[in-house]
């Protein structure tokens, strides 16, 4: 065999290897979900969704954890959405290219790389202890808001950047102020991208367990939270708790809870992707 043939063979070989590697991850994902669905799907029924946690696996439900997750999601959205968008608007539309905006930029990308559990330590000390919020829904939401702020800011900046400056010039030429231009032109035009980023960030928040455990969220909560100051658990923590029990019944429960959690996460990701593709198609500058 001459060298050319060997090289061509290597080329073909890598092509096969690449295909196998690419499919490897997806197949593993399939195996994982298949196993979880087989184990857990028969456990999902109305009782499972509405029962309080119990010492007996067949009587346990995810109601308190699910309500905790809903509370966390709601408060985190209310806190992080305006702050994240505002910070991005400041960086893109208002900040002059100087020392401050450079520091802000480096700082934001650094924050994105800080492990989530470190945010938990911050939340424990500042929100739960110094501000006296205790291990409450509010303390947890504030912690997660700080965690997802960098993601929201980066996504919002990207979509604001995509708005052409001619739109702004036209608005200024009609006598609009800076804020009027931002609020009536730039933000509506970039809203699809912003929404996509926020939803993706929130889907990350729904799956987080570690920072909330550190802030003091409990593995066992007898009742669903009623106010932002109540103690709480969330679905990932409930799953974690069930995984660490020895009885097989709890493993089944964990699988069932994972199915519910994955449905929520993937639904959020799906909506985000749909919004992204729709917005990309509709707006042509």
């Amino acid at each position: 065999m001459n060298k050319i043939r060997i090289n061509r063979l290597k080329d073909k070989g890598f092509s096969v290897l690449g295909m196998v590697s690419t499919l490897f991850g997806l197949i593993l994902l399939g195996v994982l979900f298949g196993d979880i669905i087989i184990e857990g799907v028969q456990r999902i029924n109305w009782d499972f969704l509405t029962n309080l946690p119990s010492r007996k696996p067949e009587k346990s439900g995810i109601f308190t954890a699910m309500m905790g997750s809903v509370w966390i999601l709601l408060l985190t959205t209310i806190i992080s959405f305006p702050i994240g968008v505002a910070a991005a608007v400041y960086l893109e539309e208002y900040a002059t290219k100087g020392r401050l905006s450079r520091i802000l930029e480096i700082n934001i990308s650094n924050l994105a790389g800080v492990p989530s559990i470190i945010y938990g330590l911050l939340g424990l000390e500042v929100f739960a202890r110094l501000m006296g919020l205790g291990p409450s829904v509010l303390a947890g939401s504030l912690t997660l808001s700080l965690l997802i702020l960098p993601i929201i800011i980066v996504a919002t900046r990207e979509s604001i950047k995509a708005v052409p400056s001619s739109i702004r010039d036209a608005s200024f030429a009609l006598g609009a102020s800076k804020w009027q231009t931002t609020y009536f032109q730039v933000l509506p035009a970039s809203f699809g991208g912003i929404l996509t980023g926020v939803i993706l960030a929130l889907s990350r928040a729904v799956g987080e367990a570690a920072p909330l455990i550190v802030v003091g969220a409990l593995a066992y909560v007898p009742f669903a939270p009623k106010t932002p100051m109540d103690e709480f658990s969330v679905m990932p923590i409930q799953i974690f708790n069930w995984i660490s029990r020895p009885q097989h019944g709890f493993i089944v429960n964990a699988s069932a809870a994972i199915i519910v959690l994955l449905v929520i996460t993937f639904a959020m990701n799906g909506v985000a992707m749909y919004l992204r593709s729709r917005w990309q198609k509709r707006i042509k500058w």
Binding site: N7, R8, K10, F14, L17, G18, S21, T22, F24, G25, L26, L28, L29, V31, L32, D35, A86, V89, Y90, Y94, L104, I106, S109, N110, L111, G113, V114, P115, S116, I117, I118, Y119, L121, L122, V126, L149, P150, S177, K178, W179, V206, G207, E208, A209, A210, I213, V214, G216, P236, I239, F240, I243, S244, I251, A254, I258, L261, T265, F266, N269
Partner: protein, 292 residues
């Protein structure tokens, strides 16, 4: 009146942006203050040289090495899994696969990173560990191998997506020149495209390492809770992050030395990820190759 309103709005926007700075300052202050209190009771020398970490036992030792070794062992296994796979996928998607296939596969792979980490922990404990125990008899139910492998699968998309972006940014003319000289796709990929995209690829690897070091739930579920200075991947260990979770779940008095140990572990973790993140910025800015 309108001027006044504009000014107030601008101040609010600026304040929102400054919250990110406050967050960083907050993290550093909280970790530093609590770690300072910790080191007023434990000598720094012991912290770095003692080979036992037993703050929750009667005979207390405060050596961070066992937790550090646990963290590095699991991260090393994760990178050993994710690096070859992630890089192969990136090269395959950018140099070999048809555009349509790539546009479908890339978001699907990114789903791997969207799965909550407790789910991966469950996967490691209930599927991977029993499977590995059949091959390696005597392996413990909690071990760093299984946790590391699953963590590796989780971080594949970080390497594959970011590296693929970097490869995609390499202008096509470079490849055409290589093809024109008779190279195969494989030669073009590894001798032209990969070197040209090397800074982006290195950044993706560093980010993946940093993510592995900070990963919590997988190791808390599947790697065990026994701080141990070892390189043996078959026995239970404990990572920095898993220790923080373990203490947080228990009843620990505020303002006790046990309480402060989680901040000592936290600052150690923060320092490592902070250094890695800054290296990645530095590489990104310094070695970016620009093409016309």
């Amino acid at each position: 009146m309108r001027r006044y309103k504009e000014l107030v709005i601008e101040k609010f926007l600026l304040f929102s942006a400054l919250i990110t700075i406050l967050t960083t300052v907050g993290i550093i202050l909280v970790l530093a203050i609590e770690a300072f209190k910790f080191f007023s009771e434990v000598s720094i020398f012991d912290f770095f040289t003692d080979t036992e970490w037993t703050p929750l036992f009667t005979i207390k030792h405060y050596g961070i090495l066992p937790l550090l070794s646990g963290t590095f062992l699991t991260s090393f296994i994760a990178i050993a899994v994710a690096l070859p796979l992630g890089l192969t996928i990136a090269v395959f998607l950018s140099e070999y696969a048809p555009k349509k296939f790539r546009n479908f596969i890339k978001p699907s792979l990114e789903l791997l990173a969207a799965v909550p980490t407790v789910v991966y922990g469950f996967f490691a404990l209930t599927i991977v560990t029993p499977f590995l125990q059949q091959i390696i008899p005597g392996m413990s139910g909690f071990n760093s191998l299984s946790a590391g492998i699953v963590m590796g699968i989780m971080i594949i998309p970080i390497i594959s997506s970011l590296s693929e972006d970097a490869l995609n940014a390499v202008p096509y003319s470079l490849r055409e020149a290589s093809y024109g000289m008779g190279s195969t796709r494989l030669q073009t990929a590894f001798k032209v495209a990969v070197p040209a995209a090397s800074s982006g690829i290195v950044v993706s690897i560093i980010l993946a390492i940093s993510r592995a070091i900070g990963e919590t739930m997988i190791v808390a579920i599947a790697a065990g809770q026994q701080p141990r200075l070892t390189a043996n991947p078959f026995v239970p260990i404990e990572t920095l992050t898993a220790y923080i979770v373990q203490v947080s779940l228990g009843d620990v008095q505020h303002d006790s030395i046990e309480y402060r140990t989680i901040f000592a572990a936290g600052i150690t973790l923060f320092v490592f990820t902070f250094i890695l993140n800054n290296i990645s910025h530095w590489v990104k800015n310094k070695y970016r190759e620009e093409y016309e």
